[in-house]
Amino acid sequence: MRRWTWRYAPAGVFLLGVVALWQAAVEVFDIQPYLLPGPGRVWTAFLEVRGVLPGHIRTTMTEAVLGLAWACVAGAMTAALLAGFAPLRRAVYPLLVISQNIPMIVMAPLIVVWFGFGIMPKVLVVALIGFFPIVVSTTDGLLRAEGDLVELARSYGAGRLQVLRTILIPSAVPAFFAGLQISATYAVLGAVIAEWVGASSGLGLFITRSQTAFRADRVFVAVVVIAAVSILLFAMVHLAARLAMPWQYAQHTQAGALTETPTRSNASSRKDVR
């Protein structure tokens, strides 16, 4: 508990300082609330809208989680194909990298035009954003699986599928989660961008409405909520990683404390000398 306090205390103090400075600046320079509301005003706005927020959060979160899930499925499967077939990898990989330079903010309206105003285009935008980091990282993880481990499995007569299942996939799990963590940080943002274009619910819609009403204080509420929701999603992914890779988080101190167990104690024949 104390260690936690010490670890996060500086960041907390700094944040409080920034908020205090912000409030002071707004009051001293008499800034109009539609330009920059002070923290106090943002808090009041939060209390006003707290009734409608959970609905918006639920929508956005659903889109983000569903989109991420699709990104995981499609990303992992694409990575397996790319890692397994070199010609395919050479053909597709450059296109994948180039596709990352297409700004999602441009693509989002098109996707909405193509797929309508329901939840589907939002999920698709999140999935498209999340897809790339997962593919790149997982492909890399599959290709970097240790050759000696693959050879060991082959020496026991394992076929291609057995090697994939026992060696390659488990080797790539850490890389997959590394990619997923990056995707998760962009997922909420992706959902919000897609909601700007057109939605009936969600934090993106809430921001658009607040902006058209010149309620900058409510925009700030949305910003804080989006940040909080993103952190929550990131924490969920982190938890999933921990559950999926217990060996990465196991206590390693034990090895140092271990002394060689005397094998002879359970050996059948008696030791003659010493």
């Binding site: 026991y156 002879r264 359970n266 010493r274």
Partner: protein
Amino acid sequence: MTATDARPARAPEAPPGPPGDATPEAILVRGVSLTYGGETPVHALADVDLTVQQGQFASLVGPSGCGKSTLLRVLAGLAPPEAGPGVEVRVDGQDARERPGLAAFKPQRDLLLPWRRTLGNAALGAELSGIPRAQAREQARTLLGRFGLEGFERAWPAQLSGGMRQRLALLRTFLAPRRVLLLDEPFGALDALTRRDMQEWLQEVWTEDQRTALLVTHDVEEALMLSDVVFVMSHRPGRILARIEVDLPRPRGLETTASAEFGALKAEVLRTLAAGRSPGSTQP
């Protein structure tokens, strides 16, 4: 003492596993040469002949980089030898060329899977050989004590000491349902004391097991401690310089290493090794 016709003291018994079309030679190598390609081709093996009888413990001794490990990889079906008339590689009576899975192979590194606990790692070889997972793990569990891993069923490899990791890798090798074991420097990375303990322990485990084993080592004493027969290899490209029978009584311990016979055998192996290094018999 050497090159006598005396068979090893132990009578070769029926090894575990299905009774195949067993020939007396568990391992048969004839005329095997191998050159690694690449920018600078490496001539690793030159016309190697070697046979190990069913149930024997054999060792392959030679200087580092002489192709010992390569020969083991050939036997494991992982490295194809050069084709040619009269070339034969047989493990348990079957052609092992480019056919992995005939022998249980223990590479030099322990190669434990970091994502499997002790039991899972121990059962890997058996599992990949088609034994159902639960059954493989049950077999592993019964042998944990014998391999000094009792109480560490649920440990991750990273939580085990160096000696335990090697014993676990050996357990994995022993659990594979194969009649031939190929062991590449299993104790290479261990400190001298642990190494000595492990040698005596391996001797005990193997005596109970009675499987054919081919051990690669550069430690002459280790080879003499454990083996019925020692093959001495030359510097690269590896050739078999001598086949030395070791019919010292078992179990062998510290007293054995202090005996005169042991000393004589050791001197002979070292002499052969030195002769293999002399100019003319090696390439630069």
